[in-house]
Symmetry: C2
Subunit: 225 residues, 2 copies
DNA sequence: CCAAAAGTGTTCCGTCTACACCCATGG
DNA sequence: CCATGGGTGTAGACGGAACACTTTTGG
């Protein structure tokens, strides 16, 4: 391979993952304490370096897989973070990605092994470098996406109750929603299908379980929640 | 400076600018033919490499300045583009930025010297590498921004007529708007101020010139157009 | 039998949309 | 005097918001 651009400085590239989950009616992200220098011991997003044989998206997916063992996760780029001194060592530019996962799909043992935990989005500690900025921007994008595209289901089990779904949207929007209005809107979406199954865990009466039918949802339908 | 991360490959970083302008009632972007290898002669965005002593935002602003001589331009990051083979030479990861400028602020001589031209957004030729993707994503973000924040004025002279403003929004939305409804909405925005000045260039009767008062606009006002 | 969550419609109000005519002036 | 773009109000449709009671059943 010929070297065309010799006169410019090269930099290290990393990816950092903002991994959203939903438990106890709250939005959370996965963070842990750094176990390497620089910044050892500080709270931090999970990340990794981009290898020469992979694209940025691939690096992000691989990194997420390393941490969670999950594939085919919904992921989107947040953006590149490239302030000169963002990393106290040498220059590292990082590309942040956010991911939406169902908390129950993440094995608790594996989570502990990696030393990461679910932290309430409204209670994020001071983190290493510019990681708080990354989370802020990721959250904004995620919220936007949730409003206009049916991606919330990525945060729930494949079968869910309408109350669960409502609590999720309440957590995202940061405000309570009217139950009847919410359910009315859901009823209009034929790709959110009621099943015959009943969930008895959360109430004595039992709540109908619903399922998101990805195939029935086509892009042209305009989603609003 | 200590080298902490030795085992990872470094890459070249560039920025590419999607520079939006508005003339002849159409949205345009500035593109030119590449005058360097690889890809010499192909249509391309204007870009440059990121130096060791500047952040990504600074690199983007510097690059835009080199091309246009303009400072303090509205610019936003589009994202990082990092497919392995996006550059036929060695690996280059590029961070795209979009900018909104008033076409008349860009000196025609300077433009010609750089060999770039205003090309209709709906008529973009095949471009070098992934530049068409960058434009697509930039356009999406720009459209989104224009709908929810008062940034359209960046594309217009500081004094403008309501018809100009309407044509701009029509170009962005890709559909005609009702004149009376449009003007009604504008009237409700007290930070779009009518001046005593009259523009006689576009009509015999003359049209009132308006001005956007940045100070009068506060973030809490929710903008919708 | 009662506590606790599930489930279900209607009315009201504000917002958006559709729509047509007069005005001022330069050529 | 007429062609051209500038400027103005109202009525009807639609969609979103507010709101309370009945059902089921495990303990």
């Amino acid at each position: 391979m010929t070297t065309f651009y010799t006169e410019f400085q090269k930099v290290l590239l990393s990816v950092d993952c903002i991994i959203f989950g939903f438990t106890d009616n709250k939005l959370k992200i996965l963070i842990g304490k750094r176990n390497m220098d620089p910044g050892r011991g500080e709270w931090s997003l999970y990340g990794g370096f981009v290898r020469g044989d992979e694209s940025l998206d691939e690096a992000a997916n691989r990194t997420l897989f390393e941490l969670t063992g999950l594939r085919k996760v919904f992921m989107r780029q947040v953006g590149a973070f490239g302030n000169i001194d963002r990393d106290p060592g040498e220059r590292v530019v990082s590309v942040a990605y956010y991911a939406l996962i169902n908390v129950k799909d993440y094995d608790e043992e594996l989570r502990k092994q990696h030393g990461v935990e679910w932290v309430d989005l409204d209670n994020i500690p001071q983190m290493y470098s510019d990681h708080n900025d990354m989370v802020r921007r990721a959250r904004k994008l995620m919220r936007q996406k949730m409003k206009t595209e049916p991606v919330g289901f990525e945060l729930l089990p494949s079968l869910f109750t309408l109350t669960q779904l409502q609590r999720l949207y309440e957590a995202v929007n940061g405000e309570e929603l009217d139950k009847r209005n919410f359910r009315k809107r859901i009823k209009d979406m034929d790709y959110i299908e009621k099943t015959e199954l009943i969930d008895k865990k959360t109430s004595k009466r039992g709540a109908a379980l619903y399922r998101f039918n990805k195939k029935a949802f086509t892009e042209d339908k305009n989603f609003k929640l």
